[in-house]
Symmetry: D2
Subunit: 90 residues, 4 copies
Amino acid sequence: MNANDDVLNRLKSAEGHLRGVIRMVEDDVYCIDVMRQIQAVQAALNKISANILENHLNSCVITAIRGENPSDRERVLREIADVYEMATKT
Amino acid sequence: MNANDDVLNRLKSAEGHLRGVIRMVEDDVYCIDVMRQIQAVQAALNKISANILENHLNSCVITAIRGENPSDRERVLREIADVYEMATKT
Amino acid sequence: MNANDDVLNRLKSAEGHLRGVIRMVEDDVYCIDVMRQIQAVQAALNKISANILENHLNSCVITAIRGENPSDRERVLREIADVYEMATKT
Amino acid sequence: MNANDDVLNRLKSAEGHLRGVIRMVEDDVYCIDVMRQIQAVQAALNKISANILENHLNSCVITAIRGENPSDRERVLREIADVYEMATKT
């Protein structure tokens, strides 16, 4: 199983979890329990994002930084700083 | 449309968004773009959680606090403090 | 020691921790170690916010909700929904 | 002014802000207002962390990745993935 398959499986599991949350709301489950399950989905998505970033660092980022194109290098570093900043806001 | 329907619609939209993210990974879309879409799903889930909390405060919480059962009152307040603390961790 | 003193002590400890981070930057400590200490300060601040909310729920919020002023009641609930939403963004 | 000075100034400003929060608690300011100021300090710390990461990417990370030591390279990438994962939890 490659890194991408692992990310896919985790995303599908998070999506199944979210469908479960939708059923909870349809079944009028207690609000706080719904909120806790949404927080669990978000924790799973955080973990998936961290995995994607790790794969990205070990492929595209290494290639760009070891490559000869300074604007590629700048771009990949800029993108990492950006997703980090976004991550602290969500 | 009642408050519950609004939450349901937003949850279904977030789930559709997450299915889109799965397709992006299947299509080998650039990692950073996938991460940004995951962050967008999380921002939507944050908004939904806040809506659920607001509905909850205006129904169960008011009922429990105005009611005569001190342990119910304590429980609803304890739960709010708990989901708040969890929210700061995800 | 009342609840307020506990919050004060924790805030002073977080502030001391932050002064330590400033010294780390002055001493050119490795960036990642600085970032980890900033994250530790933020985890402490999250915990303090949750404590303040808990105290608030058990005092002002109970008083307002059990009181006879509907606009006070609405205001305290509105404020809780707001700080929750903000918390999911920081 | 170099990048480090900018980080230092922002950290000192965040620390002054936090001292202000301590005074608010000493003066028994309304809980929700205290919580909002704590959230503002955290937003400032998020921004500072993102700046430190950006400086780090443009110095140590480039050097390590363009260098000839594979274990250095692995370490810097591992550290970035780690601080990202931590950031999504605080």
